[in-house]
Amino acid sequence: MRLEKCWFCSSTVYPGHGIQFVRNDAKIFRFCRSKCHKNFKMKRNPRKVKWTKAYRRLHGKDMTQDSTFEFERKRNRPERYDRNVTENTLKAIKKIDKIRVDREERHIAKRMKGNKAKEQREATKELEQSIHMVKAPSVLFKEPSLTLPTKVKVLQKQSEENRMEE
């Protein structure tokens, strides 16, 4: 039994799922769900649709070159059944999958590495540029026009309650 990949989004199509389209030149198009089939019928290009694997690969969102990709492939030749080989393969699948998941995680961590520093930089810049909008708390008490009237009342009540508890 073969688990084919969806033509549009490259996810695995399990038996009993999805739909298959055979064009009049005998080319087969498999789709994992109606979403992908509809997108195909609309003649969308998977390379330009952001949620497909093809897009993510092309734009460096996912890991592209890795030795773990060499294991899963379409093998168009018959293999003689061997119990030992099958057992070893089943064992190896788990190991390889773990390695692959770890590498993918590392790839994403690497990709997101600069984000925190960038956010920090942007925040600092915003703070510097618009510090004049921040008022000191003592100013707010002096000028009631700067705050909403209801909000002031609530704040006062809360502070009173806090004192009572203490």
Partner: protein
């Protein structure tokens, strides 16, 4: 919905517009057109005379997979925005295929075993 056959009870789609039917099932797929365009000039066959097609099937636009009644109409078509957009797509990268989808899913190239002809 103009691609359906005309029916008297439905006022909106009284006529069957060829434009809509073409988009539905008449036109060739992108990859087929792309492969056809990649072929060198000499390999392309002469257009066969077909009396069912417009202009006996002699005036053909390869990019858009359309037949025209005569030369002037075809040349007019070459100037349209639709045609120029289509040419741009066809000049670009190869259309998406199942192999691309498999590779993007994290599969390797298909393993077809050793070539039988090379062994002998």
């Amino acid at each position: 919905m103009g691609g359906k056959c005309p029916h008297r009870s439905v006022k909106k789609r009284r006529y069957s517009h060829k434009q809509f039917r073409r988009a539905k099932f008449l036109v060739k797929g992108d990859d087929a057109v792309y492969d056809e365009l990649l072929k060198p000039e000499e390999q392309r066959k002469e257009l066969p005379v077909d009396e069912d097609l417009p202009g006996m099937g002699q005036y053909y636009c390869m990019h858009c997979d359309r037949y025209f009644a005569n030369v002037t109409v075809r040349d007019e078509h070459f100037k349209t925005k639709k045609h120029r957009k289509r040419v741009k797509i066809m000049m670009g990268p190869r259309p998406h295929t199942q192999l691309d989808a498999d590779l993007a899913a994290g599969m390797g190239m298909p393993d077809n075993g050793p070539k039988l002809m090379s062994m002998s």
